[in-house]
């Protein structure tokens, strides 16, 4: 089998960075996320391959928090689209976990299927290679397996498996992965190592039957109760690897400007506020309910699997302790009149 020895790790990342932008999990200020390997500050920022999940997910790599779409010119009655900014530069995400790899599949299904292909997402996605780091020791907030994700078999072009001190097992999974592997083969070794044993999940939750049960729970009093502490701050949607809602806005000065899209959040009043004054989700209860139903029921109905990948980021980030695992538990326990 192919092995990436740990002392060759930096050389591999440097080599990959010659032909693509390489994103790795890095500490940055008081936070962490997937940032460019070549632009890191080695004195202040550490590679965090051993951390299960960095604070920010890699979703911004395919779906930036703010993305310029096209530039415009309007002068009096004249108007034109000047330039469209689809960005298909090669990108490699290194060290992503199985939950985040599944979240990219969620984004792929949203942006690339069901009648329309989002050309901005497609441009970023088509030249992207995903190298995922298999998980064997789930953290306190991890519950990916309950959401149908296999932590040791991430959906990626290449899987690396940390065997401890000596190195990573390196397994190409797709043609893209094979091609990338060929380009760095001189830095890999050929020897036999054993992948670690999978440890049990500290957090247990049972999602089976939840999507079906939720179908009959839209008017359930539980939503009012569960939404009580929600501040509608939106941090859950911001750290979530699969939340894909966006807004399209314009920035203009004089005759020029551009349209851009940016992450939006179903937690905000403005998200569904209509020009005529109406709002179908006027209070926290409706917005909270829509978010969790989208994650656990609506997406499952539409795409066949949930929009929650069990990464646990929202559990860690919520300032009032709202916990999607407990919500699943409460839904399981709730009594429903037939």
């Amino acid at each position: 089998m192919k092995i990436l020895s740990k002392d060759k790790l930096e050389s591999v990342l440097d080599k990959l960075a010659e032909s693509a932008q390489v994103f790795v999990p890095l500490s940055r200020a008081n936070s962490s996320g997937f940032y460019s390997w070549e632009n890191r500050n080695p004195e202040k920022e550490q590679l965090m391959l051993d951390t299960l999940n960095v604070y920010m997910s890699p979703k911004n790599i395919g779906f930036p928090q703010t993305e310029k779409m096209y530039s415009i010119i309007q002068s009096g009655a004249e108007a034109q689209i000047k330039e469209t900014f689809e960005d298909s530069n090669p990108r490699i995400i290194f060290g992503i976990r199985a939950c985040d790899a599944r979240a990219i599949r969620c984004l792929d299904d949203v942006f690339l299927t069901r009648g329309y292909t989002d050309s901005f997402y497609q441009a970023r996605r088509e030249n992207m290679v995903i190298i995922a780091n298999a998980c064997y020791s789930p953290g306190p907030n991890c519950f990916c397996a309950a959401m149908g994700v296999n932590p040791t078999e991430p959906e990626a072009d290449i899987i690396i498996r940390d065997t401890g001190d000596s190195g990573y097992i390196w397994e190409a999974q797709t043609a893209k992965g094979e091609e990338l592997t060929a380009g760095i083969s001189s830095l890999l070794e050929e020897k036999e190592l054993k992948a670690p044993e999978m440890k049990p999940f500290p957090t247990q939750v049972d999602y089976s039957g939840v999507a079906e049960k939720l179908k009959g729970m839209f008017e359930h009093p539980l939503w009012e109760e569960m939404a009580q502490t929600c501040q509608n701050c939106g941090i859950c949607t911001y750290v979530c690897p699969s939340c894909h809602c966006f807004d399209i806005q314009v920035k203009s000065w004089g005759d020029e400007g551009y349209r851009y899209r940016c992450w939006d959040s179903c937690m905000y009043t403005e998200y569904t506020a209509e020009a005529g004054g109406g709002n179908p989700r006027p209070t926290t209860k409706e917005r909270f309910r829509n978010r969790f139903l989208h994650k656990l029921e609506f997406f499952t109905e539409r795409y066949g699997y949930p929009l929650c990948t069990g990464c646990g980021r929202c559990i860690a980030a919520c300032p009032t302790g709202i916990n999607i695992v407990k919500i699943i538990d409460q839904v399981k326990e709730a009594s429903v009149d037939d």
Partner: protein, 279 residues
């Protein structure tokens, strides 16, 4: 028969020129747009929508008025906010962005051979008007046509020429118009649309009812139709919600697992009853 936006960049608009603007009411104007070189960037089916954008201001989803010739893209737009204020201020010759067509449109073929009942309030007549015009263009394919329309006042009635002159003159067509409150010079019906529909009481046998208007009107019209014996399959409505992408990706216009922009905006009542009551 419904076209979908098939362009390679579905979020990027095409530039069209406004060639005519018509005042419909004090706060509704019709805009006629076409490509500078002539023609339209896409054909629309009755009930389909398009994103109209004033480039430096923003985009909004509007129902396209269907026309057989597909000579213009036509929109009847009510002034209610930032974008529509801007649109109401433009003049003929202005260039705008459009992208589309979006949504499923009305089931015009499924309704063939049926009597048609159109029930609209205020600007809600705009989407229905496409279906009405389609029926008149294919008059032999549809039975008796009944149109019930109401607005707050006479001034707020849209498309008056069609309402009072053109449509009532067409074979087997009845047009009933009502306004909310009595006013000087108005000899017609006064009262709300749902009650007027019950008063007219069209026989549900072999009929399809199509309704659009303010949410509160739709709610009461649906109750009235149910009371009058209409089945859920006989009742069609077209919904709206805030939209940004128009292609089922940006998230906000969902009702349950359906997106109004993509899976709608047209649903029959049987379909709506399968969804959470958030419309």
């Amino acid at each position: 028969m419904t076209d979908k936006c098939s362009c390679e960049q579905p979020l990027v608009p095409t530039i069209v020129e406004v060639v005519d603007i018509k005042d419909e009411t004090p706060d509704v104007k019709s805009f006629y747009c076409r490509l500078s070189e002539g023609g339209v960037p896409f054909n629309v089916a009755p009930g389909q929508c398009a994103m109209v954008s004033c480039l430096p201001v923003g985009e909004g989803m509007f129902s396209c008025t269907w026309q057989e010739e597909q000579e213009y893209l036509q929109f009847a737009i009510k002034k209610v906010g930032l974008l529509t204020d801007e649109l109401h201020a433009i003049e003929v010759g202005q260039k705008l962005g459009v992208r589309g067509p979006y949504g499923n449109g009305f089931p015009v073929e499924e309704c063939q051979g049926k009597d048609m009942l159109f029930i609209a309030g205020g600007i809600g007549l705009a989407p229905l008007r496409s279906f009405i015009k389609y029926c008149f263009k294919h008059r032999e394919d549809y039975g008796k046509i009944t149109i019930v329309y109401g607005s707050r006042s006479y001034a707020d009635l849209c498309f008056k020429e069609e309402l009072f002159d053109e449509w009532p003159a067409i074979k087997d067509t009845q047009v009933y118009v009502t306004i909310d409150n009595p006013e000087e010079g108005w000899a017609g019906h006064v009262g709300f649309v749902p009650a007027y529909v019950e008063e007219i009481n069209p026989n549900p046998q072999g009929l399809m009812a199509v309704t659009c208007g303010p949410p509160i009107m739709i709610k009461f019209v649906l109750q009235s139709l149910e009371k009058m014996g209409y089945t859920d399959q006989q009742v069609i409505t077209t919904l709206e919600m805030r939209m940004k992408c128009g292609i089922g990706k940006c998230g906000r216009c969902n009702i349950g697992s359906e997106y109004i922009c993509l899976d709608g905006p047209v649903f029959n009542l049987a379909q709506l009853r399968q969804l959470p009551q958030e419309w």
